[in-house]
């Protein structure tokens, strides 16, 4: 079955460019230029994935409103914010109201499509039984690379695709320092250093939410980050 993707974007050129590239990838794409038409369409039938811009014509936060409405309709619908706004505040707000990822418009199309397919793959994977071949364990951390889920002490940590890729890249080789460039490549984003810093910060926060004593992501000043899975850490919890 062909996946249906809805793009809500007021800028016609970008909208059509995205739509074209996604169509060539074999998706069925519907485009909406404003919130009203999108809401009407979504009331009739929900798509499989939604790409939202935040500012929609006159509505400065139109994308956020739409995201909230969609999230109310479906808890599992993948929603991606694709916006020109690159500030921290909007990123946090977007993710907090239930978006699966928050991307800025300078992301390259291959990176975008990789995320979309990853989201679909994850959705698919949830429908299948858990298979051990995709699961790697590092201390209390369990990574399911197919479902793109992470558990810490058997408790699931809710991460976005980007965050998952970051944790995955770090935890794959515990103890090895990953510099920012490597992390960017692995997480399929191309941003500046401070964005990586804020991503890492958010990830730490999410872990700390479940386990206050979480201290596995170490900052190696001047170099990058590394995943610590030393005996002390594991022995404490096992």
């Amino acid at each position: 079955m062909t996946k249906r993707i809805a793009i809500v974007e007021d800028e016609a050129a970008i909208r059509e460019n995205y739509a074209d590239v996604l169509r060539t990838q074999g998706y069925q794409v519907q485009t909406y230029a404003n919130r009203e038409t999108a809401t009407q369409a979504f009331n009739l039938r929900l798509p499989n994935l939604v790409i939202l811009d935040i500012g929609l014509n006159e509505e400065y936060d139109g994308g956020f409103v739409l995201c909230q409405q969609l999230r109310a309709k479906s808890a599992s619908l993948p929603i991606i914010f694709l916006t020109a706004r690159d500030n921290d505040f909007d990123t946090v707000s977007g993710l907090r109201i239930g978006a699966d990822d928050y991307l800025t418009k300078d992301i390259s199309l291959p990176h975008l499509t990789a995320r979309i397919s990853a989201l679909f793959r994850r959705q698919e994977a949830f429908k299948q039984p858990v298979s051990d071949e995709h699961i790697t364990k590092t201390g209390p951390l369990t990574i399911d690379s197919l479902r793109m889920t992470i558990t810490w002490h058997k408790k699931p940590i809710d991460l976005t695709i980007t965050e998952f890729w970051l944790v995955h890249a770090l935890a794959k080789h515990p103890g090895h320092v990953k510099n920012r460039t490597q992390l960017m490549t692995d997480s399929k984003i191309y941003v500046d250093d401070s964005t990586i810093t804020s991503h890492i910060k958010r990830i730490r926060k999410k872990f700390i939410k479940t386990d206050e004593s979480f201290d596995c992501i170490e900052t190696v000043y001047g170099m990058g980050y590394r995943w610590l899975s030393d005996i002390d850490n594991t022995s404490e919890h096992d």
Partner: protein, 736 residues
């Protein structure tokens, strides 16, 4: 420029206002002038009054011949020593041969010597001093005789002339000659004998002439008195000297020849009749004299010391309640001593020796005796008081026979003037103190307001020209309030403009992002299409395939758009950092670890550079955001690396006075002086236009400064020499 300005005298608003207010001093000057003018008119008035008084008195004396008749006033001239003047004595004289009770004896006595000798058979061995005075009903005479040998009358001698004797002659009221000889047998009460022209007549004792003969070391003194009723207006006396007992007269000295009526001199005693008239005028507060044509005083009344004119009012003594009042005390102890530094109090105690008691001189008298009424101003002989005198002639038979002189001091006017000036000074002092206080308060208020405004304006803008604070708007409705408001408006507008400039890069990047995304996605789509076309028509065109499969133009366009994208990201980095910093929590970490960790990282990244860290501390606990400190180091090191010529970067970490100090040295080109302050501002770059690998917007050091400010620290750049280079100094307080 500024250094020169510092040497210039600062002339503040307050000083200017004070200078302007000094024009107020004109007011007391005018007041002073006015009082002086008033005094001038008063003096003129006094002069008129005085002349009037003199005229009135002279009018009473005109044509009263009998008043002058028995005086010597009709004489064409007077001869000193011969024409005598009987001084008015104020106290009774004791007849004891001593002149202690004669006032001013030495001045009033006339000295007789050989010039007045009547005859001399031998060299003169005699001289004497004589003084004449009048008291009550007697004429007193005092003689102080210097004689080498005093010869008394022999005990059994009948003759009264063969010894030292005094011959005294005077006319009586009927102009008959009375002759007397004073001839003593011993010192003591005198023996007076009346003689006649006939020498054979036995001398009769004359007991109405009383006196005392006193022997002195130089000779003898004779003090005697004659009843006035027996006395006319002619007199003569002569001393006859005998040098051996019962000898012949050897010489004689005297005022005139006593033997004949015609040869007698005159005597003038102050006239009781004129005095009676004059006494009626003494209530005029003036000193009055009547003189004859020989300037001799006929009568006088009043004293110059009490003659201060009609303006003189006795000051009412302050009542007890007034005396105890604070104002009175203050006035007496502070104000009056102050005023009398400028003013002079008219002296109550002055000495005027111009007039002798019997003889007056002065131009005004001379002028009056020629028939012209005059008045003149003169100073007392001790120059203490100013005296106004008016002289008016007395006519008898169309001839000037005397003059009336009226004198007053200006003390009355001066006292009046002083009192007016005292009041004026007090009022002016009060006005000036009040005015000055008002001025000072006003000027202080204005200057403090302006200073406050200037401080506010200075504080609102820092040395780099950035707006760092807001100005509070003044609510007052005057010019300074307007100035404050326009300042505030200007600062606010500048602040808005600065804010606009600062946020311009992020705004620009935001606005550009959408069109760039359009281009970028379009190019990517184009590339994808190209790829697909190539994969389908693989066999048709192999030459393109060899070129990595993609149209080189698309590839170039993509490279360009990626660079553009990077620039945009960098442009908004500062804004994002600012936003991020506001939500960043500070944690405690070891600064030393962070710095050395970073340096280890840089050694990998910039493998051909040498990084040296000089530090003595092993641990430096610091509270802040380590990620941002790393970012700060990244920016500074990146800068240092780019400007380094010898590929050596030296870092120094010190901990002093609660501050962490980090110095980053690189040797290379120096900073231009102008830029050293603005180096850390947004969009300032020193890089020359040589080809660069990465785009630069001059935001790196701006970001470094933002991070330093977040940690309440400072960043500065300085040149260092030998070898030339730049040191970036970061100072961060550790006690936050």
């Amino acid at each position: 420029m500024t250094s020169r300005k510092a040497f210039q005298l600062r002339f503040g608003l307050r000083a200017k206002l004070l200078l302007l207010s000094s024009f107020l001093f004109i007011i007391p000057w005018f007041g002073y002038q006015y009082v002086w003018e008033m005094e001038k008119y008063l003096r003129f008035g006094q002069e008129q009054t005085l002349v009037g008084t003199a005229r009135a008195l002279a009018t009473a004396l005109h044509e009263r011949e009998n008043l002058f008749k028995n005086q010597a006033s009709f004489l064409p001239n007077v001869e000193q020593g011969k024409d005598l003047y009987g001084y008015q004595l104020t106290e009774a004289i004791q007849l004891d041969g001593l002149h202690n009770d004669w006032p001013y004896f030495s001045q009033r006595a006339h000295f007789y010597n050989h010039q007045q000798q009547l005859f001399a058979n031998e060299p003169l061995s005699l001289n004497f001093k004589a003084s004449v005075g009048k008291y009550d009903k007697y004429l007193y005479l005092f003689f102080q005789v210097v004689d080498n040998q005093v010869i008394f009358r022999g005990k059994n001698s009948r003759s009264i002339i063969n010894n030292d004797h005094l011959a005294l002659s005077f006319s009586d009221q009927n102009n008959n000659l009375n002759r007397f000889i004073i001839s003593n047998k011993q010192a003591g009460w005198i023996s007076a004998f009346s003689i006649t022209e006939n020498t054979d007549d036995i001398p009769k004792p004359a007991p109405h002439i009383q006196g005392h003969w006193l022997i002195t070391p130089q000779g003898y003194n004779i003090e005697l008195r004659v009843p006035l009723k027996t006395l006319g207006d002619k007199i003569a006396f002569a001393f006859f000297d005998i040098n051996q007992p019962a000898g012949e007269v050897v010489s004689a000295i005297g005022s005139a020849d006593p033997s004949k009526l015609e040869s007698l001199g005159t005597i003038l005693v102050p006239s009781p009749e004129i005095e009676r008239i004059v006494k009626g005028m003494r209530y005029t507060n003036s000193s009055i004299w009547v003189v004859d044509q020989h300037h001799r005083v006929l009568a006088s009344a009043g004293s110059l010391k009490s003659a201060s004119g009609v303006w003189h009012e006795k000051e009412k003594p302050a009542s007890e309640s007034e005396k105890s009042s604070l104002w009175y005390q203050f006035k007496q102890q502070v104000l009056l001593p102050l005023y009398y530094k400028v003013l002079t109090k008219p002296p109550t105690d002055f000495i005027d020796k111009l007039y002798d008691a019997r003889h007056l001189s002065g131009e005004h008298i001379v002028s009056a005796l020629t028939g012209k009424a005059t008045s003149q101003w003169r100073l007392t002989t001790d120059k203490q008081a100013l005296v106004l005198s008016a002289a008016y002639p007395i006519f008898i038979n169309n001839k000037v026979q005397g003059a009336v002189i009226v004198e007053e001091t200006t003390n009355g006017i001066r006292t009046l003037r002083n009192r007016a000036l005292e009041k004026l000074f007090t009022v002016i002092l009060a006005i000036m103190i009040l005015g000055a206080l008002t001025f000072i308060i006003f000027a202080t208020r204005i200057s403090s307001r302006i200073r406050h405004l200037s401080t506010q304006a200075e504080q609102a803008i820092d040395t780099q020209g950035r707006i760092i604070g807001e100005m509070s708007v003044s609510t007052s409705h005057d010019e300074i309030g307007d100035l404050s408001r326009s300042f505030t408006t200007a600062v606010n507008r500048l602040s808005e403009y600065n804010h606009y400039l600062e946020s311009m890069s992020s705004r620009l990047s935001h606005e550009l992002r959408t069109p760039i995304a359009v281009v970028k996605t379009s190019l990517e789509n184009l590339a994808l299409q190209e790829k697909q076309r190539l994969s389908t028509d693989e066999n048709i065109d192999k030459s393109i395939d060899e070129n990595n499969g993609i149209n080189p133009y698309i590839e170039r366009a993509q490279t360009g758009i990626n660079t553009l994208n990077l620039i945009l990201t960098n442009m908004s980095e500062a804004t994002r950092l600012e936003q991020m910093l506001t939500r960043t929590d500070k944690v405690v970490f070891d600064l030393k670890t962070v710095v050395s960790g970073c340096i280890a990282g840089y050694r990998q990244v910039y493998s051909d550079f040498t990084f040296d860290l000089n530090t003595e501390i092993s641990k430096l606990t610091f509270r802040g955001s380590p990620e941002h400190i790393v970012q700060l180091l990244d920016k500074v090191i990146n800068n240092a690396v780019e400007f380094s010529q010898d590929k050596v970067i030296t870092l120094e970490l010190k901990h002093r006075n609660g501050h962490a100090e980090l110095l980053i040295n690189n040797n290379g080109i120096l900073l231009p002086e102008l830029l050293s302050e603005s180096l850390f501002d947004s969009m300032v770059s020193l890089r020359n236009n040589k080809k660069q690998e990465q785009p630069h917007l001059g935001l790196g050091l701006y970001i470094a400064r933002l991070i330093c400010q977040f940690h309440q620290g400072e960043i500065s750049a300085e040149n260092h020499h030998s070898p030339d280079g730049v040191t970036i100094k970061i100072v961060l307080p550790t006690k936050v």
